[in-house]
Symmetry: C2
């Protein structure tokens, strides 16, 4: 997986400039209107034509993935912090919370995220980050299970789904923070509890 070392030509200045302008405009629009924001409007605000936007980001998902890059790095940083904790239960809880906040970056983000989780082809730019999150979650779950803080039957993927769900509900704006807290408590109690099935 070596990087092509030789760059036959220096990248054009306008390319970088436009890309940056597009990302900034997209971030604003995604924040305000959710992931369904008008790409036409994004292009206009960035001062470029529609074609330029599509040349830089072939699909809405590609643009979304690029905009999420920053937040993704924040998440990695938080993951490093969390890894410093001593209690496996705390680690899992905080990791779930960090994921949930990541999923809540823009309203409607859970939708394309789940679509990415569905596809096994790497055609979707969101698939890779998604898979990474699931794997990480599974590691935290296993650690919690070894410490006796999680039921053996729970999988990392399950809690990934739970975190996406909470983020989805939050994104609909239908509920207050209090109800969300109760839901989080419900989930936590759900993976902590005994495996008492027959």
């Amino acid at each position: 997986m070596g990087v092509e070392g030789q760059q036959g030509r220096k990248p054009r200045a306008d390319v970088q400039r436009n890309r940056a302008a597009l990302l900034e405009a997209a971030q604003r629009h995604f924040l305000r209107d959710g992931v369904g924001a008008s790409l036409e409007a994004v292009a206009k605000e960035a001062g470029v034509g529609p074609a330029t936007l599509y040349r830089h980001f072939a699909t809405r998902e590609a643009l979304l993935a690029a905009v999420l890059q920053t937040r993704s790095e924040e998440l990695v940083a938080r993951r490093a912090d969390i890894a410093q904790l001593s209690d496996a239960a705390d680690m899992l809880r905080q990791w779930l919370r960090a994921m949930e906040e990541y999923f809540s970056a823009f309203s409607g983000l859970p939708e394309p995220l789940m679509a990415a989780a569905r596809e096994r082809e790497p055609g979707n730019p969101l698939t890779l980050p998604c898979d990474d999150l699931i794997t990480t979650t599974d590691a935290y779950v296993r650690a919690a299970q070894r410490a006796g803080h999680a039921r053996p039957s729970v999988k990392g993927y399950d809690l990934f789904l739970a975190a996406v769900s909470v983020a989805w509900i939050k994104g609909t704006g239908a509920t207050d923070e209090e109800a969300l807290d109760r839901l989080r408590a419900l989930i936590e109690s759900g993976y902590r509890g005994q495996d008492d099935e027959k």
Copy 2:
């Protein structure tokens, strides 16, 4: 809440015919394409112009609510069956499952449903059925709590949210039935477990 007894004129035949055709076409399209189906296509398949569709159903939600009427009645029937059970825990579990199936009638249905739950105005035709479901869920939760099968801090609304979430995930088509079962188990374990917080 008396019905206006006098009908100055017999309702026109074409009105009823068109309404029925629209509902049938809408049902087919919602089933195939989810709640985002093209209303234009629905009108065409029903053999009417777009204006006729909008005259009968002012918004997509109104059409959705009308199409859901049938399923809503099925749900009421199941509720009667469930009320015959002896075990409060069984009742709650089966009611949650029945709701979840109702929410899964069409792909994407949870979205407008949550939007309806958000609005306090009865402008949205989905708000009323929604409120009814929450109230019913709360009744089942309370019964389960009295029998010691549910934590006291859980509210009906919480489990309504949980059921909507599971339906949403199912609707994304990203997961197999196995993962959904684990998620349901997680939720059940969540509301059954002890209230062991400090």
